[in-house]
């Protein structure tokens, strides 16, 4: 198998999830119990992502500048500040800690 063949096969494989998921009839979500399941799974996937993006480097837990930045973001979100502001302050906190204090 050449690299190109593998690349196209892998892309098709990744796309297949996206497309098959979109074929599930939306009626399936009409039942409140099913709607709750899909909503729980979505929240779990995204929260799992938050956990990885905040705490993990190369599969190991690494507490660095990301954690204080995300904690600040949570506080600002609870205070209902605008999205852009929350994200910009988080970036600034992490970059600031690294640049000024030399944190990892």
């Amino acid at each position: 198998m050449t690299l190109w063949t593998g690349l196209l096969l892998a892309s098709l494989a990744v796309y297949s999830w996206k497309f098959i998921g979109s074929l599930v009839p939306s009626k399936a979500l009409d039942h409140p119990r099913m709607a709750q399941l899909v909503s729980l799974i979505t929240v779990a996937l995204m929260s799992g992502l938050i956990g990885i993006q905040t705490l993990i480097t190369d599969r190991q837990v690494e507490l660095d500048s990301r954690l204080p930045a995300v904690l600040v973001a949570i506080a600002l979100t609870v205070m209902r500040l605008p999205f852009i502001f929350v994200v910009a302050v988080a970036a600034l906190v992490a970059a600031g800690l690294r640049f000024l204090l030399g944190w990892p």
Partner: protein, 223 residues
């Protein structure tokens, strides 16, 4: 400052910030032995960050012999887009010829922005975010593949924290009931805790299994 950010500016900033990671991808992909065309084709056709990094990661360490493993890893990491597609298809409604396009744009970011908006803005949020991420991700992939790591590391600019913060701000409005809050909290802890023991990408998928278990727990109502 109580006013919410407009859907256009949220979509644009998510698209731009996510897109900047394309530089890392482009540079790493070149370092893993892919040429510039292959690197750009991956961003255009696979268009799913986690799967793309997994694909080039396996190839980089194992070479062409590892191609089947690389395909399998990319495929496995793509599962969560399938769940997003289920949610999004009920929000997007009838699409006709645009259905396959919407499917390609169904990723973490477009789904998160759509779900964080009120029902009137959900479709716009999805298309705008998907479109902006696609645009910037592919443009930055080309830049990264062309110039390599000399452009700089996104985490020097705090972009790694910004990406996590964006998901925090997008998921928060969804946590309207106690089961959802419990699931979110547990998923964050759980995914980080099991990371050293399983392959990259698997912790997030196992969070979904956790969600199913929580779903099955009956809620006791106080008399």
């Amino acid at each position: 400052m109580k006013k919410r950010s407009g859907v256009f500016s949220v979509s644009f900033s998510v698209g731009f910030a996510t897109g900047l990671y394309g530089i890392s991808f482009g540079a790493l992909s070149e370092a893993s032995g892919l040429d510039i065309w292959q690197t750009c084709a991956l961003s255009l056709l696979m268009f799913s960050g986690g799967s793309q990094f997994a694909f080039i990661g396996v190839l980089g360490s194992g070479g062409l012999a590892a191609l089947p493993t690389a395909i399998a890893s990319a495929w496995l990491l793509g599962v969560r887009n399938g769940f997003y597609a289920v949610t999004m298809s009920s929000i997007l409604g009838k699409l006709g010829w645009r259905k396959p396009v919407a499917a390609q744009l169904t990723i973490d970011e477009s789904t998160a922005v759509a779900l964080s908006r009120d029902s009137l803005e959900q479709r716009r949020g999805f298309w705008l975010t998907g479109g902006f991420v696609f645009l910037f991700w592919n443009a930055m992939t080309l830049l990264g593949a062309w110039f390599g790591e000399s452009i700089g590391n996104p985490s020097d600019w705090g972009l790694d924290a910004a990406a996590a913060a964006a998901f925090v701000a997008l998921v928060w409005p969804r946590l309207t009931e106690s089961k959802l809050r419990f699931t979110a909290f547990l998923s964050i802890i759980f995914s980080a805790f099991i990371s050293p023991y399983v392959a990259v990408g698997v912790p997030v998928l196992l969070s979904a299994v956790l969600a199913v278990i929580i779903w099955l727990i009956p809620v006791r109502r106080k008399p």
